[in-house]
């Protein structure tokens, strides 16, 4: 499927809107996961505003596609996408992390309709997504399951248990997306735990591997489309991204993995994301 320039432009604008929502939601003086949210903005935008089949008015729609945020710490960008998609009013974003808010620091399935699972204890989202994909197959549902994983998260052993199992069960309704921003909580992944040749590792585990520029909207959409055509094995999209993408001062640094904006930087961020 090809996408016209207008569609791509609109999606790119939406990605920018989500980034701005995140900045406003977190606000100045509070720590927020800007880095990993911004690296995955296009990946999430393409799912919620083009690829996925769902109904925000009926979050339990049986044949909906599922999205799981294994790197649950960037819940803020998923909340922005869900609000813009119509799951809840955009104004509710301002309740983030307030006592009693449905918008918890990590996604909570019991609190917010549209969230598919409690994730964020890293390394577990892929396995959960596999369970959903097996359940969908038992029910002969055509739905697809997307799970976004951080590249730092690949340190977790359970990722590789899940990878082995998904290939074993030929879970071709499952798509893993690795947000390869090359920075984990405290430093570059290569310095903290060098995960080596990531595409080769997934291929060796029996996955169909697609490598893209994770900020190129057309490439992101094409990857999701290609994944749909692959039968008999799951697909992983290795999305090369930039941590903090879109904010000049937050790009490619671990400082804004979970960083705090001063009043000055907050204003600068909103200016840059106009």
């Amino acid at each position: 499927m090809s996408y016209d320039a207008e569609t791509i432009k609109k999606l790119n604008e939406m990605a920018k809107t989500l980034r701005r929502d995140v900045v406003e939601m977190v606000g100045p003086g509070q720590a927020g996961h800007f880095g990993g949210s911004f690296s995955s903005a296009e990946l999430i935008t393409a799912l919620y505003f083009s690829k996925m089949h769902y109904d925000p008015k009926n979050p339990k729609l049986a044949d909906r596609d599922r999205f799981l945020l294994s790197k649950g710490h960037v819940a803020v960008i998923q909340y922005a996408a869900m609000a813009r998609a119509g799951y809840f009013p955009v104004e509710e974003l301002s309740t983030l992390k307030k006592i009693g808010s449905r918008l918890q620091g990590h996604p909570d399935v019991k609190k917010l309709p549209g969230i598919e699972a409690n994730t964020g204890s890293l390394g577990q989202g892929l396995s959960i997504a596999l369970g959903i994909s097996l359940g969908l197959k038992l029910d002969n549902l055509p739905s697809r399951v997307y799970v976004l994983i951080g590249d730092g998260e690949l340190d977790e052993g359970q990722i590789w248990e899940g990878a082995m199992a998904a290939a074993n069960f030929k879970a071709d309704n499952l798509v893993a997306i690795v947000d390869r921003n090359r920075i984990q909580a405290t430093d570059f992944t290569a310095k903290r735990m060098d995960s080596g040749d990531i595409p080769a590792k997934w291929a060796a585990f029996g996955w169909n591997v697609i490598e893209i520029d994770g900020h190129d909207m057309e490439a992101v959409l094409a990857a999701y489309d290609e994944a749909e055509t692959v039968k008999g094995k799951p697909t992983v999209i290795i999305a090369n991204t930039v941590k903090g993408k879109g904010l000049s001062f937050a790009e490619n640094t671990a400082a804004y993995h979970n960083g705090t904006l001063t009043e000055e930087l907050y204003a600068k961020a909103l200016e840059e994301l106009k």
Binding site: V109, N118, S121, Q124, I128, L134
Partner: protein
């Protein structure tokens, strides 16, 4: 069912439930011939998922299946089922309130041969600490059947602890089983003897041996969570002292539960259980239970001791 092995009773019951409810699925971590999930696999291969030796992935995959509307039963030895995948059970199954059923097989010291790494002395404590988790420890095969059936409809996660070895049948076949209810197995008026799992048999033997000397009320506590304080007080009413017996660490098990529940009753309480230590290998189960003081004789001793100080 004249089946005395809890594992076999468990496996057969799961098959029976699988026939009635197509949403029931089973996940196994390569111990199916021990946990007896192999019976389910034989009858429902399409609803059985062999996950290999990867318990963490098994627990999270089960969470996903539950999120897709299934009722997954996951299987391993209790020490792994409650320990290796504790985080997965807490984070996704527990917080999400998902209908995942955990079968902790070869529980307690019942895998006598394999030693400390394969024996679970703290699984009840771990599982009870997860908010919303139901925890069941049946006394024999009949009660295992009843408990597994009762587990299906629990709205939230549940854990069942299964003994590896045959146990004499002490509960009636097809007796009604209510989650959360303690059962008086034998009435008595001096000492309330609470027991769970394999220790219920020994508690009954102790009560019988003490007949004419001390009147012992034996209370079987198959549900270790949820626990109803009023019910626990009620079943101990009139007795001057209390003794608990369990094949589990005294930290976080039945002894801890009874102490908390009866804290305002001001009765002396004595404990038979494992004292903050790991298991070890032995040539047979009885020999190992004796080594850890989990015998009828030790229960009798403890009842006498408490009876002496109880006013």
């Amino acid at each position: 069912m004249s089946e005395t092995n809890c594992r076999t009773a468990y496996g057969k019951t799961l098959v029976e439930l699988g026939r009635e409810n197509k949403n029931i699925v089973a996940l196994e971590a390569d111990l199916g011939k021990s946990t007896m999930s192999s019976l389910f696999e034989a009858e429902f291969p399409e609803r059985h998922f062999e996950m290999g030796i990867a318990e963490a992935n098994m627990a999270s995959t089960a969470a996903g299946l539950a999120l897709a509307g299934k009722i997954p039963f996951i299987h391993s030895f209790a020490v792994f089922a409650a320990g290796r995948d504790y985080d997965q059970l807490r984070q996704t199954v527990g917080i999400g309130g998902l209908k995942v059923r955990v079968c902790g097989s070869s529980a307690g010291l019942s895998d006598f041969s394999d030693g400390s790494t394969h024996q679970s002395v703290e699984d009840i404590a771990l599982m009870r600490a997860i908010p919303g988790m139901t925890v069941i420890c049946p006394a024999d095969a009949n009660e295992t059947v009843a408990a597994v059936k009762a587990m299906v409809d629990i709205d939230g996660p549940a854990y069942i602890r299964i003994c590896r070895n045959p146990i004499e049948l002490i509960t009636e076949e097809n007796k009604p089983f209510e989650i959360g209810k303690p059962y008086i197995m034998k009435d008595g008026s001096d000492i309330a003897l609470f027991a769970t799992g394999i220790m219920v048999t020994k508690a009954l033997e102790a009560a019988k041996a003490l007949e004419g000397e001390i009147s012992v009320r034996v209370i079987n506590v198959p549900t270790l969570k949820p626990i109803n304080r009023n019910l626990m007080i009620e079943v101990a009413k009139g007795c001057r002292g209390v003794v608990t017996a369990e094949e589990h660490s005294l930290i976080g098990g039945l002894g801890s539960i009874v102490s908390v529940m009866l804290s305002e009753e001001c009765k002396p309480i004595g404990f038979v259980g494992i004292h903050d230590q790991y298991g070890c290998s032995a040539h047979n189960y009885e020999e190992l239970l004796e080594y850890y003081g989990l015998t009828t004789e030790k229960v009798i001793e403890k009842v006498r001791e408490i009876n002496k100080i109880a006013k």
